[in-house]
Amino acid sequence: MDITVNILLTIATAATPLLIAAIGELVVERSGVLNLGVEGMMIMGAVGGFGVGHLTGSPWIGLLAAIALGAVFSLLFAVMTLSLATNQVATGLSLTLLGLGLSGMIGTSFVGQPGERLPNLDIPGLTSIPVIGRLLFGQDPIFYISIALTAAVMWFLFKTRTGLTLRSIGDSHTSAHALGIHVIRYRYLAVIFGGACAGLAGGHLSLVYTPQWVENMSAGRGWIALALVVFASWRPWRVLAGAYIFGAVWIGQLHAQAFGIPVPSQFLSSLPYLATVVVLVLISRNKRLTMMNTPASLGQPFVPDR
């Protein structure tokens, strides 16, 4: 029983950064913008979170720094693609490359340093309930944030007028502009929200998942988050499901390696990436579903006519 609980807890920990980054990117893509820089923003969040946590001794301040750094970094992307109408694919790629380089440079002095870890929730009486206690009341704070965030984004997108407006921009920015909706302003906010989420996800990596700094520690999670959004056909609850499936794959291969299964560890390590490919193929085979759900203006540059 305890082993099961432990595995479930580690799956949740592995799924949380994927979920947060993917939910942020979902909002961005719903507004019609494709930001391929998730990996870069995430790693900046990770290095910022670790660094500030390490320097101040407070993981909470580190977490705030991670969020802020992700948001600031996404602002770069927003200025380029929204104000200068650059190619979103190329700009997102360059954001990732810049993030990986910059985090490596900043993090040189952090290698091998002790990190700060955000404490798990501990509610007397509740956390100690057998089995469900630790699952429901004993996880790290970002886990709860991730679940709340998913619910909030669902509510925002499908129950509020602002969410409707955001979705309409993703469907047709020209129509939205003709109606007097501030396309660029909405997209700026969406991109920055996505950046803050990616930063938070990165902060989770360096403040909860493995509280230390390792270069390239995001290890492709930003890209997997992008794949999750496609896999989820731009629906928040499916992102949640997808993130936990991937969390399970991630943890599964680690446990398999620990158990000494006679398969080379490299093959097990490549499972999450191969799983991403397989999942993308499976979802894209359903052309109708993809076509109905893909925001129609996704990735298209928009230059308003004044």
Binding site: R167, L179, G180, M292, A296, D305, R306
Partner: protein
């Protein structure tokens, strides 16, 4: 509201100017709109009508000039400001969202925070009272063009505007649907609302408008009462001089002429969630004749064009035959090599690559048919040859341009269309299929293109023209068939065809019952 409601006009525009770079799209425009009138804004394509109304609706910012609303100087800096003043707009290219429901589309243009369910109820009530039936729950992507326009109109009316701007509203409607629209407009006028009605269709302007302002090359060239004018005097004001009338010589012996394009039981499943299936279409186009295909936009014309051109292949090779050979399994290149030529609806991005030079765009449709002349054995492009050929077409079609070999996007719509049509005519094709030959093209260029198509047919080619413009089809066709919901009617010989008959078919009347419905109507 304002105290001086009776003395002044609802809207007055003085010296409104909009400059795009070197082009003065609107040049010191003056315009007055009184309360309770339907005011026509006339002008041919490119005269500046759309630019003017976009400034009135706040989508574009004028470079200079003033706008007075109820006598007060106002600055309409955004569509939101326009809506607050009481100006509503029905766009020509609808500003709708396909992935959202009708109710959500309506909600997006209302500024109050009322929940979508109550908006749906209001929309439903309003649509009934104006006789514009509408299901607020349906996805816009699933709706016909006419239904989409209803959403635009209802969305506009829900804001209780005093001035409603309609940009070319009937270009997407059947004649019968247009009649219903006119009833709605007249009812709105009787309620004291003003309407600015943009059109280049003179008959309907004469029928419903109280006054007209005529634009040409961005300038106001006259105000008039359209009821006192004739269609030809209005046309002269719009165009500036007489447009050469298209001459269509009668064809003889057509019944015995060879069928160069045969379409037999052509069917196609919908390719995307929102596209139309083709249902068992059959049609023959013989040497020497022009066949027109009428229909409201979105009834399968695009899908039909793709199937005939070979951009999409058919399962049944015999469903499209060109010059007596099965072509259904051939690509567009294979069909071209059989002697067919195609002009698609969209100029930029389909018929031409916008950011490529005209000479390169020549290569686009002719790299295979003129392979020997334009491409050397090793796959090298002979640029001297394509430039010479491009010049030949430019001269033959009188294409006006600003540079020796400009990018396609730098040409006006009319000139680019002349080049694209000329590119195909230059091959002397034996089968020519054209989708919307003169859409958005100025009157001079349109006449030129239509005449060229007739002459091609009279020289022994088969010409098939798909168009939403009934005037055009009646001008150039020897017979007209109608496409509705993916099915094609039998062609009506031009001598038997009338606007009413064709219009009923466009609205979906059974081909066999066309006469009957007409009598009871």
């Amino acid at each position: 509201m304002s105290a001086n409601q009776d003395g002044t006009n609802l809207l007055e525009v003085r010296g409104l100017t909009k400059i795009f770079g070197t082009l003065t799209a609107c040049d010191h425009i003056d315009l007055d709109i009184a309360r309770g009138e339907i005011h026509a804004l006339l002008g041919e394509n490119g005269a500046g009508k759309s630019t003017l109304v976009k400034m009135l609706f706040g989508s574009l910012e004028p470079n200079s000039g003033e706008i007075f609303w109820n006598g007060q100087a106002v600055r309409i800096s955004s569509p939101g400001v326009a809506k607050k003043l009481g100006i509503g707009m029905v766009f020509q290219h609808f500003s709708l969202f396909e992935a959202l429901t009708a109710a959500e589309n309506i909600a997006l243009s209302l500024d109050d925070g009322s929940p979508i369910s109550s908006i749906a109820a209001k929309a439903r009530a309003l649509s009934f009272s104006y006789g514009l039936p509408l299901d607020p729950e349906s996805l816009v992507g699933d709706l016909s063009v006419g239904e989409r326009q209803r959403i635009e109109i209802i969305r506009c009316l829900l804001q209780t505007p005093q001035l409603i701007i309609l940009d070319e509203p009937t270009s997407v409607l059947t004649p019968q649907e247009a009649d219903k629209l006119f009833e709605t407009l007249e009812r709105l006028r009787s309620e004291g609302k003003s309407i600015l009605y943009i059109s280049h269709r003179l008959e309907e302007v004469k029928r419903i408008c109280d006054r007209a302002t005529v634009l040409r090359h961005g300038k106001v060239v006259g105000h008039c009462n359209p009821r006192e004018e004739t269609a030809s005097s209005l046309a002269r004001m719009m165009v500036g001089n007489e447009v050469q009338a298209v001459v269509r010589a009668p064809v003889e012996g057509i019944a015995t002429a060879q069928s160069l394009l045969e379409i037999r039981n052509l069917s196609r499943k919908p390719a995307t969630p929102f596209s139309i299936p083709l249902k068992n279409i059959s049609l023959n186009v013989r040497a020497g004749e022009v066949i027109g295909i009428a229909g409201v936009a979105g009834n399968g014309q695009g899908e039909f064009f793709e199937s005939v051109s070979g951009e999409v292949l058919q399962q049944d090779a015999a469903s499209v035959r060109i010059r007596g050979k099965d072509a259904g399994g051939l690509t567009i290149t294979g069909r071209r090599l059989l002697g067919a030529a195609f002009v698609p609806e969209e100029r930029l991005g389909h018929g031409a690559a916008p950011r490529m030079k005209l000479s390169e765009n020549l290569l686009l449709s002719r790299h295979a048919t003129d392979g020997k002349a334009f491409v050397s054995g090793g796959g090298m492009v002979n640029s001297a040859a394509i430039q010479a050929a491009a010049q030949r077409i430019i001269e033959a079609m009188d294409v006006r341009k600003s540079a020796p070999d400009p990018e396609a996007a730098a040409l006006s719509g009319g000139n680019l269309q002349k080049f694209i049509v000329g590119r195909e005519l230059d091959r002397r094709p034996s089968v020519m299929v054209v989708n919307q030959p003169t859409w958005g093209v100025d009157a001079g260029a349109a006449a030129h293109i239509r005449q060229a198509l007739i002459e091609l047919s009279r020289s022994g080619s088969a010409v098939l023209v798909i168009s939403q413009d009934l005037d055009e089809l009646f001008e150039i066709s020897d017979a007209i068939a109608v496409m509705h919901n993916g099915a094609l009617s039998k062609p009506l010989p031009i001598a038997e065809a009338t606007f009413e008959k064709v219009g009923l078919l466009m609205g979906g009347a059974e081909p066999g019952h066309a006469e009957h419905t007409l009598e009871t109507a």
